[in-house]
Symmetry: C2
Subunit: 433 residues, 2 copies
């Protein structure tokens, strides 16, 4: 008999059907047992009355995979208004041990480390499933928005000959007897590819040997990267960035309705024009409002980002706010300076509900400017030479941005730890599963 | 003035317009110079008559990025039937050196190593652009087909605690003072995720420390992976694999029409039922036809795959053929044996025009079977324990497959070296750009 899914059961009242899934729970009453069988579409209630079958079922551990053939019967008390009667039960795959995670409750009660240790089981909880359904929809929305704007998807190497973002947080590896590194970003590659396709994006892993154990950082995460040529300045880039985020929200709304409902989320509206605040004005506002001495600091602290998030909601009814014109000193060397304001840059961050979601800006596009920028920071150009070569041969004025996928989801679902939005997180201490 | 693209020029006859792109070539005649300016949509011919402007332009290296404002004039001899007259030319970004690659010809005449050394420029050639347009369309088609079949996209870690496919060809790295590896495949993760979503796919990089320098192998490539639960056997998997490939071809046909034309490709038809041959029958046929002693060998040689490709085309008019039931000894330890034929497996390869494009099969799904399979190969289960845990808690009968994206494109465009279908290839000797 052909398997049907649990969400289809109500269309088969009175019929004999076959469902298959995980034996999530057994509820034993005096004369009968309810089995709850979960598949990817929902949970079915199976009523077992035959004493031999009740005894057989009692031996099965939770998460045993079973196929059930039974009759669909209307029931007011069952999920979806139907339950399964007079079942035969076939074990498709045994569970060899009690479940380390209790999947019966509305939420998971185990600590996060326990959940992560037993990810193979904890991810089966509907709330965890819902989170990663949002992830899949978000990445699809990012791609759809950029495809619609004439961008071409690219795949660039993750094993590289020199670090892209500088700094110490780079993983080294032995590459056929030579030293190589894991890419901290596809930065130079996406810039190079602007010379080929003008507009490119990549969705893939990036690696940071982040030595600190924080709720915001991972050693490996998924970066949604875009880069485009023939820009006026960073505002051209921001217009595209807005479309990318709007596309992510649109596909979440469209494809992940059940997940949004499961997690009781309020999806953000992405304003046609996201509010924009200059870095300097942001500092002045924060200083005026809080009395803190922030004007002149080179960056915004997390508390200041939260303040700006509240400001955007209060003043503009927006979950998003762009901050533009960060000081050069805190931006990477490939950042384009603001021609009108020495020391400041054509860069931006996009804050989502008071958290940095995206960072971007216009880049330098002339070879000589790269050499000067590296010199000014006391860095050797030699290590970067294979990448800088692209700039010798005509790269148009360009810019781009990157979104941390897990961070986006964390803010969307209100997770306090980014590990909750990563299937199998990697950090200083966690390398498995 | 708003920039328009070259392919829009013919809609603007008689108007003053602005285009921007790369100065690909200058053709000097006695009284005038033709400039060829390339953007991502085509090449425009600009007619320069003013002597000062001819002299100015003569100083510019090829690949200088320029903006041209000019009048669109009909011309029988120009590309698209129009050319640009009375131009003003603005240099947006200089090229600081002569181009290392000649982009003027219909094809690239430089050797492959030279092309790869100067990828930033050689990838700008229309033929190279076309190849990677096919790549983008193929990966989009893979995702669209599987999305349509209820699969969920996942992202799994590339830094892992133990090798997935065994063998020596794994890259090691220092992970905060511990030993870690780069994932050779997302194999265990996608299997684990069958327990969560039943049907999952991933498109991402995989890493093989391939010590041999061949035209078929890379140290890093893009793997299109899928895995699904509640399968009958490998034939259930093959039906989905057929849909994935058909989706790839469909989106290439739909979105990459110009690239197909540029490269003068014949796209394959994917038969509703791809021909299927058992490994044993394949060997018998090859032996009967060629006189070679192949029956009893544990695997097919590349020449035998070519023979089978020709057979499929001759006998079935198909560019594709499935070979099923490979000997267990040549398949990974997680392969499900054929219950009816000891020593053989529920596995398959899909050959495309005589080359292995995809490998897949049914997997073991019971924990005890994994322990037995590892024992039989003399491997310790300890290293795999974090992954095997998933099998203690109920994984349904399942299977999956993987396609090497670059290999697919190589076969599609007829490239003899897989490096031609990788933007920035990585091999034993190549780590940059």
């Amino acid at each position: 008999m052909q398997r049907i899914h649990v969400h289809e059961l109500s269309e088969h009242r009175g019929e004999r059907v076959r469902v298959a899934g995980w034996l999530q729970q057994q509820r034993r009453l005096s004369r009968l047992t309810f089995l709850l069988v979960r598949d990817r579409t929902g949970v079915a209630q199976v009523v077992v009355q035959r004493p031999e079958l009740i005894a057989e079922a009692a031996k099965l551990h939770p998460e045993t995979v079973v196929a059930v053939e039974a009759t669909v019967v209307e029931s007011d008390q069952a999920p979806n208004g139907v339950e399964l009667h007079e079942p035969t039960i076939q074990v498709l795959s045994p569970a060899g041990a009690p479940s380390p995670i209790d999947l019966r409750l509305a939420g998971l009660k185990e600590s996060l480390p326990t959940q992560l240790d037993h990810a193979a089981v904890s991810l089966r909880h509907p709330c965890r499933q819902a989170t990663f359904t949002l992830t899949a929809a978000s990445i699809a929305g990012f791609r759809a928005a950029l495809d619609g704007l004439g961008f071409v998807e690219i795949q660039t190497p993750k094993i590289v000959g020199s670090s892209t973002e500088g700094g110490a947080n780079v993983f080294g590896l032995d590459y056929f007897g030579r030293r190589a590194y894991l890419a901290q970003s596809p930065q130079f590659y996406k810039q190079t590819m602007v010379g080929v396709f003008e507009r490119v994006y990549e969705t893939g892993p990036v690696f940071r040997a982040e030595p600190h154990d924080t709720p915001r950082h991972l050693a490996e995460y998924v970066s949604l990267d875009a880069e485009l040529g023939f820009v006026e300045d960073h505002f051209t880039v921001m217009a595209v960035a807005r479309e990318a985020v709007a596309g992510m929200v649109a596909v979440v709304r469209d494809r992940a309705e059940n997940a949004v409902e499961q997690l009781e989320l309020r999806l953000p509206e992405v304003p046609t024009r996201i509010p924009v605040l200059s870095f300097s004005d942001a500092q002045a506002s924060i200083e005026a409002a809080t009395g803190e001495n922030v004007v002149g600091e080179p960056d915004l602290a997390p508390a200041h980002e939260r303040w700006l998030g509240e400001w955007a909601r209060r003043e503009h009814g927006s979950d998003f706010v762009f901050v533009v014109g960060y000081p050069m000193v805190k931006r990477p060397f490939y950042t384009h300076p603001d021609p009108a304001r020495p020391g400041f840059s054509n860069s931006f961050d996009l804050l989502f509900r008071g958290l940095e979601l995206m960072t971007g800006g216009q880049r330098l596009h002339r070879y000589d400017d790269y050499v000067a920028a590296l010199d000014a920071r006391g860095e050797s150009t030699a290590a970067y030479e294979p990448y800088l070569a692209a700039f010798r041969h005509g790269l148009p004025p360009h810019g781009g941005f990157a979104i941390g996928l897990e961070r986006w989801i964390a803010r969307l679902v209100g997770a306090t730890n980014i590990r909750e939005t990563t299937l199998f997180p990697r950090d200083r201490t966690r390398l498995a599963p």
